[in-house]
Symmetry: C2
Subunit: 368 residues, 2 copies
DNA sequence: GATGGGGCGGCAAGCGCATTCCATCCAGCG
DNA sequence: CGCTGGATGGAATGCGCTTGCCGCCCCATC
């Protein structure tokens, strides 16, 4: 990529590179009008485009914002990405994107790559995992994050803080609630945009109980996946608050196919509840899983809300035309992306996300 | 973003920066084993991470790949993005992302930004518009692209070539077919990953006709939107091939809401066809529009395939759990993204995309 | 044992730009 | 009329790294 350089423009305009630099790229010292005109004209006629690399090197600030997600083709992340991108554009930043499939090792690689690019800030979205097999990965991710921060970068986590050795316990059954964890400063000193997963899934359980459901089952992601674990916990708390027995938890992959698989496995439970004259209410910890469950049930001839009820979480945009309308917890994903980007770039603490329970047809009162 | 520099590592290891550079970052000349060890040890202990900006400046190659899409939250683009990202990762490139809402002006800005970053290659996805109002935008996009290419960048367009003044006619009713346009070299000398929109929509029309449908209507995007126009044309050709009358074309926004709107408008036609004992078959030029149509019809109490038939185009992943199963044309979007990235980076011509008609329930023979 | 060549570090020159410091010029003031 | 101070353009330096070139040493060769 050879290209027109500043000094060529300067020569063309008959001024020094310093002067050209001052008129072309915002400086505190703006040269006289006449000279400025000459320089601008020269720049236009030569088709000058500043070399951002060189500028970055000279100013030691790149104007780059890194975004790390599990999977950009997942509507959850692509909505967030849209928000991040839109904020980045408004702030005149350029977006770097990396997808990691959710593995801490890939995430570390991404942080490393962005550190190498000297990104001004990094937004890291996606659930953490407290799985034992991820301990080394989490540790090295944490180290990499520390290094990035130590070098003056801004890191913002969407949802959960990074998993430290100490915190690896946090997702476990008897860990501290959301609030306590959020209050504890992240060891890596990263910003965290909190998503009230626990209280929202509790709200969902309450809403469902108030609608008259009394038998529940939970379709969760693999053990150790923080987002899933926390949502399960919140939901169970809600049931407990209403004096209902804890729901059985069925674990599978944290995606549509996981839901599909769980759906098959839950057929029996749905039918036996029906046999007893009640409807089982399912809570899938994310919408994609819920959609998988619905697909599996449908294949077995079971429909919501007639034969069972089901709720998801996230309110991804895909739901708009999904049948039956899926009860879920709306997360303002694009907005989350926007404020994540802004917070990361400014270094200010982001406002926690606001969610809300959205009741739809999939948990309607039985029609008959 | 201050950080450990190469020369600090070199000093720590007791060697010159040149030597350190050679051992740390792939050079043809690799220093002796003993020295290499010292340098590596120093790099690790200091936590050295090369400054990609400086490297880029020195090597004049950045390892950056730019991706420009209309909307990253649209599953069509996010699937492509996934493919691009995955190829980029494998090739050791970093991805720059920009969303433009499909306006040529924003696209130009994105190209400019990526040029400024000296991206090695740019993938530009999304339909072009031959609309009169976009003429100036297209022209300046073309200029910007030319400039990028002149500076040694590689540009790859997904779908259509850039719109030149000359080519602005191409999308018009009596323009040359796909093949002729593809054969004409792009003025900007950019690569083009061809998507056989015309022949595939023709295939779709043939398949539908063979299924026994004889009355068609088309739900298209706004006039001048190339992808839409070409698909319409191909479909009409297919009908013509079967001796069927041309379908009425109804235009609205190229998205879900446009489809919804068109769906309402088409209620009459569906009902009157039914009154005459036949079913109207709708072709929406993309899946999102088709989904909007289905939603609108459902609201009016009309269901596919019982009351009408409908087909879409793209086979976005959202369709997996859409009811009814939507007949469509499958485009291997992720694969398209992958080969787009590879071609852009290598400068080689990409293989044209392979699509196929997928018949599903939405165009099933009437059940009764 | 002298000579040529190959291998290996180091030196230094940039890559394109921002910015500090300096020289210059002119206006204004005493 | 001489001096000072502010404004303005230019020269020089450095951001962190790569790489062509030079010089050194050691070994093989005659």
């Amino acid at each position: 990529m050879a290209a027109v350089t500043l000094s060529e423009v300067a020569r063309e305009a008959g001024v020094s590179p310093a002067t050209a630099s001052r008129v072309l790229n915002g400086s505190t010292r703006v040269p006289g009008a006449e000279i400025a005109e000459k320089v601008k004209a020269a720049a236009v006629s030569l088709g000058y485009i500043p070399n951002a690399q060189a500028q970055a090197l000279a100013r030691s600030s790149t104007g780059l914002l890194g975004l790390i997600v599990h999977d950009i083709a997942d509507p959850y992340f692509s909505s967030i990405a849209r928000g991040v991108q839109s904020a980045a554009r408004e702030l005149g930043k350029t977006l770097l994107l990396s997808c990691t499939e959710g593995t801490p090792d890939e995430e570390r690689l991404a942080v490393e790559a962005f550190t190498s690019r000297r990104a001004d800030a990094i937004v890291l979205a996606g659930s953490r995992s407290t799985n034992d097999s991820d301990i080394p990965g989490n540790a090295s991710l944490l180290r990499e994050a520390d290094r990035y921060l130590a070098n003056g970068g801004h890191l913002l986590l969407v949802g959960h803080p990074l998993i430290s050795a100490r915190r690896a316990e946090a997702g476990r059954p008897n860990a501290a609630p959301d609030s306590a964890r959020a209050a504890r400063p992240d060891p890596a000193n990263a910003l965290v945009l909190a998503i009230p997963n626990e209280s929202l899934s509790r709200d969902l359980a309450l809403a469902l109980a108030d609608r008259g459901f009394s038998r529940f089952a939970i379709v969760a992601g693999p053990e150790g996946l923080l987002t899933s674990d926390i949502r399960v916990k919140g939901f169970q708390h809600g049931l407990e608050d209403r004096g209902l027995p804890a729901a059985e938890v069925r674990r599978s992959a944290f995606n549509r196919d996981g839901g599909f698989e769980a759906g098959h496995a839950l057929e029996e439970a749905v039918r036996s509840a029906a046999a007893e004259g009640s409807r089982l209410c399912l809570f899938a910890v994310n919408d994609r899983m819920a959609m998988g469950v619905v697909a599996a049930m449908r294949r077995r001839g079971l429909e919501a809300p007639a034969d069972y009820a089901i709720a998801g979480f996230d309110d991804i945009n895909t739901l708009e035309d999904f049948v039956p309308g899926l009860t879920t917890v709306r997360l303002p994903l694009e907005e989350i992306g926007r404020s994540a980007a802004v917070a990361a770039l400014t270094g200010e603490d982001p406002p926690p996300a606001q969610g809300e329970v959205v009741l739809r047809e999939s948990t309607a009162k039985a029609k008959h």
